[in-house]
Symmetry: C2
Subunit: 250 residues, 2 copies
Amino acid sequence: MSQIASIDEPPLLRRLDTIAALTAAEREAIRQVPMVVREVPPRTDLIREGDRPDECCVVLEGFAIRYKLALGGDRRIIAFHVPGDIPDLQSLHLARMDHNFASLTAMRAGLIPHRALHELNVRHPRIAGALWRATLIDASIFREWIVNLGHRDALSRTAHFLCELHFRLAVVGRANGNGIELPLTQADLADALGMSAVHMNRTMQELRARGLIEDKGRTISCRDWRALRTLGEFDPDYIHITPHEKPDPA
Amino acid sequence: MSQIASIDEPPLLRRLDTIAALTAAEREAIRQVPMVVREVPPRTDLIREGDRPDECCVVLEGFAIRYKLALGGDRRIIAFHVPGDIPDLQSLHLARMDHNFASLTAMRAGLIPHRALHELNVRHPRIAGALWRATLIDASIFREWIVNLGHRDALSRTAHFLCELHFRLAVVGRANGNGIELPLTQADLADALGMSAVHMNRTMQELRARGLIEDKGRTISCRDWRALRTLGEFDPDYIHITPHEKPDPA
DNA sequence: CGCAACATTGACAACTCTCAACCAATGTGG
DNA sequence: CCACATTGGTTGAGAGTTGTCAATGTTGCG
């Protein structure tokens, strides 16, 4: 019924393999979808609130965020995206964007016309189901963020975020052993985690002091993810990876 | 192409009318979907984390919540549901529940087998689109909660919540003028808004002291929703009501 | 070298939590 | 009808967490 994705699988296919068991025909159909590849500079808006996009964007390489702007112009990061994600998949059925979507690092993006996705959905109902499921996983991650922001203190909130990032990167083969790339500045992190940059800084120091993380430059590493998971009450079930692709639970 | 829902429209149809312009045939197909009606006592779990439901539940009357349980057993409310909502629609494509779903008040629930919904989706792609959209609106509300919990203080957080509730009730014709039913205890509210019950109490007092709300029993009313919206930075765009059904923006 | 972006620090204020008690409304049993 | 238990709302005091402001390091890069 399905094959395991190889390391050099295109990011979208690799990601879809983690949420559905696709047939060879379905995989081929996905490969054939027309996609325009575009190199996006760091910190560049791709979609703004109020836009009505007619294409979706796959993250092929690099990192992206979604954010909202407060009345005062403050930015509130609401989601973080890794290769294989389709951050604006919702635009397929929800015409008006209610938030912004931007690159964080330099990013390679794959643009797929809505029309092509609609055709794919009609021709391959199981792919439609998989895409629907992708948006549902998106929502599940939001729910977990609600818990994280509403009910955990700065330290475990940060631990939880790092565990989620590590897990999601591992799923698509982007974790380097114990380390992950963390392209967010502390101010970005603070914004995503609902705290001030100063407190974010002190929280990172506390994590380092406890020996839970080490960071050199843009990379963060952790000798004991289990300890970090305990601190952050992290349980990856909410990311809904199908068993056949569940990554090493180290 | 579409008709405006009448007051005594079944809640699901009334809700779907606010997110899609359905044809008479599509509306009839929805009416014909087999649904078992069940009376549910207050505060009763309908679905637990780990369950794999084979039906979806429409809220016909009353209120429901979704929540997660922390390791220590603490409950974290992640969503609030009003008549017309299908809180577990995600189970159609995401087999394993990652959270719990329970009645809050006495509730009339309509249970629809997944099979029937899948058939409906196959036969009526535009209904499938509308249901997909419903799950996307769900996700949009989660995003707004992320902003609310992460970036607003207790007072405006509470104001925002009340505005959302009022708006969503108004959409399905369940607001009584300036008042709404608020069946949550202060402890429930505190839990949903990520604060302690004591602080919730003081926050409600502050809202009353400022003349923004009045509450008698299980009902809350507000003379000036505009002021409350300003305080809560509430803008209903994220609820994605289609223009033809947009309720009075008072 | 010198700028610019990011990280870090200290002092202080503000917000929110915890604990522990008390009040008010409601419902039940005797 | 009252005594009592239960639930939900309220209060006060004190502690803990987090935010703000303003300044100082540090690093990378033109």
